[in-house]
């Protein structure tokens, strides 16, 4: 994919290892005594966003707790690539039980720590988007509702990657996965489905919810650190591009994650007790069209692909001039440009179709935006 010139301060000054900064400004990963919780030798693919995200998250959590931390992992890529028996890449106490129960297992660990007088040891639960928004959702909601002292981190690569890129409840509309293939003029994943888990977590009114991406690791680190300052149930949703599943280049992982935030696809925010408290400003907004769904065959920022073999990112038909460019198919009808998909496509001179009308109807039925996430993000200016 064409390389975009990134202003120096976006990468050079904030990432790991920058020795030009004053020590207090450096990231934790720049410290020679960093935890290295997930050591080398694991079997993740080259450029795996999940491996990168997990290392930063767990390292930051270890630092915040003075190494008094236990991790509980759901089944998925992260678990499989990190613990091929008899090896383990984990440098902290780590437990894997099942695919769908990591939040409950984490609850059990936290309860045991309280009961055995070790409440200073903290618990981190983690899993992929499938393990979190689908099969583990019941356990996660229970953990939120009880406000158990667990930080649960979802590494969202937008599909079930470990089993070969099948659709999950976090797969965006039109995305091509092994079970939502783009056939003929049909797009990949269905429109109007999927879960917004950060919003659902906020609806539980837990003390802390945040989203982050591997494009801004300093921000990710800061959020984990803040989360560890809070007692009770906390949720962190991290966008982690997956080269294998998205069909992207290993060296584009960070770039894709950044584009996802810059075009507004993936809002980066923090919330406390159900209220958004901070959102990362999009400094230079880029359109989804052309930026992410660029040349044929290249992936878009959310794992879709456009081009000869795959359907365009969002629609069954090409819009605009280049085939495969697209308007972003928001699941929330209010998040479409021009108010709703019917109006949007009308403006572009495209005949609205059934799914547009369905979404537009839904928009009119909603008295107010249901999601605090959608309502608040554009209004926030300040970065924490």
């Amino acid at each position: 994919m064409p390389v975009e010139q990134i202003p120096h301060q976006q990468t050079g000054s904030l990432v790991a290892g920058n020795r030009l900064l004053a020590p207090e400004q450096r990231s934790g990963q720049a410290r020679p005594d960093r935890a290295n919780s997930l050591t080398c030798g694991h079997r993740a693919c080259r450029g795996c966003g999940e491996a990168l995200g997990a290392r930063w998250v767990v390292d930051a959590a270890l630092r915040a707790t003075g190494n008094r931390l236990i991790a509980v992992n759901a089944t998925g890529c992260l678990e499989v690539f990190s613990t091929p028996y008899p090896q383990s890449a984990w440098q902290l106490p780590w437990l894997h039980s099942l695919f769908g129960n990591a939040p409950a297992v984490a609850t059990g660990v936290a309860a045991a720590l309280r009961a055995t007088g070790r409440a200073d040891v903290r618990v981190l639960g983690q899993g992929g988007d499938g393990g979190t928004v689908d099969i583990g959702f019941g356990c996660l909601s229970g953990m939120f509702e009880r406000n158990d002292d667990v930080l649960y981190v979802c590494y969202d690569n937008e599909a079930y990657m470990n089993t070969g890129v099948q659709r999950s409840g976090a797969t965006p509309a039109a995305a091509r996965t092994a079970t939502t293939q783009a056939v003929g003029t049909e797009p990949g994943n269905v429109f109007g489905q999927g879960k917004n888990l950060p919003a659902i977590a906020m609806a539980h009114e837990i003390p802390y919810v945040a989203t982050a991406t591997v494009a801004d690791l300093r921000d990710l680190e800061a959020k984990v650190t803040r989360a560890m300052d809070v007692q009770g149930a906390r949720y962190l949703h991290v966008l982690v591009p997956c080269p294998l599943g998205w069909g992207s280049e290993a060296h584009d992982t960070i770039r894709l994650a950044r584009l996802a935030t810059q075009c507004g696809l993936f809002p980066v925010l923090e919330a406390a007790y159900g209220e958004v408290t901070a959102a990362t400003r999009i400094r230079r907004r880029v359109p989804v069209e052309g930026t992410c769904a660029g040349s044929p065959g290249t992936p878009t920022c959310s794992g879709h692909a456009s081009g000869p073999t795959w359907s365009p990112v969002s629609r069954r038909r090409p819009i605009g001039t280049s085939p495969g460019t697209a308007c972003w198919p928001h699941r929330h009808p209010r998040r479409w440009p021009d108010g709703d998909p019917v109006r949007h496509h009308a403006r572009l001179g495209v005949e609205p179709d059934q799914s547009d009308r369905r979404l537009a109807r839904r928009a009119t039925r909603l008295p107010r935006p249901v999601s605090a996430l959608c309502r608040r993000v554009p209004r926030r200016r300040e970065r924490p």
Partner: protein, 395 residues
């Protein structure tokens, strides 16, 4: 202390005396009274440093127990029927991880058709899960088995299921000598996990194991299970010495020594069976009963020794495998020389149907006279099934 007490309350008191540190539960009849009582005990502060966690499903209940046990806490839960099936994946997982969790099963049928009453279909489903399974004959044994179960689980680092018949035991008021706290403290040492999640000594638990070592992992689990065949009698003997009563153990023979016909059974039906045997003995029939208290691991040698002299063996089953027949029968046959020829199955008391002494007397007399089919359904309403069979198209 001797008390006239409901089975569930007695079990809850015995579990509390074991000082569990994490209890988690999701309600299902007929398990509810046990966990209700425990929740009140924890709330009252009587159980120091114990966490009672109300979870959102049985799957979560077992998962919380797994996390708690791996982090070094004595963990307990209870369930039945649909709940046990709902947690099935985690039940296997607990055994695979070698976590000494103790779980009460208030035995209940499995739907459809939905039925809340007692049989053994639920725990039988889990017989291959890698858990030790103990079956209580009465409420005294149900209470005592929990104390023994914690000792056994922690000695071998295996999870243990204590199965007690739903309603028949859980809701029955009987005189029970509830294990006293001091005695339990003396009998059951504090939980010392073989391995626990500890930042001072990080371990990875639950790694992925491929074909190169999976067979060995399973084999070692098998060997560890078999160790229970020594540990169970040893713990039961220790318990008898400490508490002055004999409960638990591998098998419980009753008047089998000179018996021609022996009925093998699990659970509360043993009481009725013994009464029926006494009556038949009065009538001159040489019959006996063999109660199997430890069903997993299956005590083949003990069963063989107890059944050695019998010519006819009846296995009375509270569950069965559709299309095949008896489940326990297969184990009994496997334990006997000549594959237990002459062993027949009687399926009885499904979905809570009462097993009456009269029916048992009849079936025992028939067995003794060699008039029993290989598979009999006790008190089957033939009129109803034949009418239905006549209506359903065949082939």
């Amino acid at each position: 202390m001797l008390r006239q007490i409901e089975g569930s309350q007695a079990v809850a008191a015995a579990v509390a005396a074991c000082r569990p540190q994490v209890i988690c539960a999701y309600p299902i009849s007929p398990q509810t009274h046990i966990v209700e009582a425990l929740s009140a005990t924890v709330k009252s502060g009587a159980l120091a440093s114990c966490e009672f966690i109300n979870v959102e499903s049985e799957f979560a209940a077992m998962s919380v127990a797994i996390g708690a046990s791996a982090a070094g806490a004595r963990a307990y839960t209870a369930t039945a029927s649909q709940g046990l099936l709902y947690m099935a994946e985690a039940v296997y997982n607990a055994a695979g991880l070698g976590l000494p969790i103790v779980m009460t099963i208030a035995n209940r049928a499995i739907g459809a058709p939905i039925n809340i009453w007692n049989d053994h279909s639920d725990s039988m489903v889990m017989r291959d899960a890698g858990w030790v399974q103990l079956y209580a004959e009465d409420n005294q044994e149900a209470a005592d088995l929990h104390v023994q179960a914690f000792a056994l689980a922690e000695r071998l680092s295996v999870p243990v299921m204590v199965c007690m018949d739903g309603f028949v035991l859980t809701h029955a008021f009987e005189r029970v000598d509830v294990p006293e706290q001091d005695a339990v403290d003396a009998f059951l040492p504090p939980y010392r996990p073989r391995q626990r999640l500890d930042p001072a000594d990080p371990v990875t638990i639950g790694a992925m194991v491929g074909p190169e070592a999976f067979t060995e992992v399973r084999y070692l689990a098998h060997v560890n299970q078999l160790r229970a065949l020594d540990a169970v009698p040893a713990i039961a003997a220790g318990f008898a010495a400490a508490f002055g009563r004999s409960t638990g153990g591998l098998v419980r023979p009753y008047r089998v020594d000179d018996a021609d016909t022996v009925v093998v059974a699990l659970g509360s039906v043993l009481g009725t069976l013994k009464d029926a045997v006494d009556e038949l003995r009065d009538g001159g029939l040489r019959v006996g009963v063999l109660g199997v208290t430890t069903y997993r691991p299956f005590p083949s040698a003990a069963v063989r020794a107890a059944l050695g002299g019998a010519r006819r063996i009846v296995v009375l089953e509270r569950a069965f495998s559709a299309g095949t027949g008896g489940i326990v029968t297969a184990d009994v046959r496997g334990a006997l020389p000549g594959a237990g020829a002459g062993t027949v199955t009687v399926v009885a008391g499904l979905g809570g149907r009462p097993i009456t002494r009269a029916s048992l007397r009849q079936v025992l007399a028939d067995a003794h006279g060699g008039r029993l089919e290989p598979l009999t359904f006790l008190d089957l309403d033939l009129r109803l099934v034949e009418r239905e069979l006549a209506r359903t198209p065949t082939g």
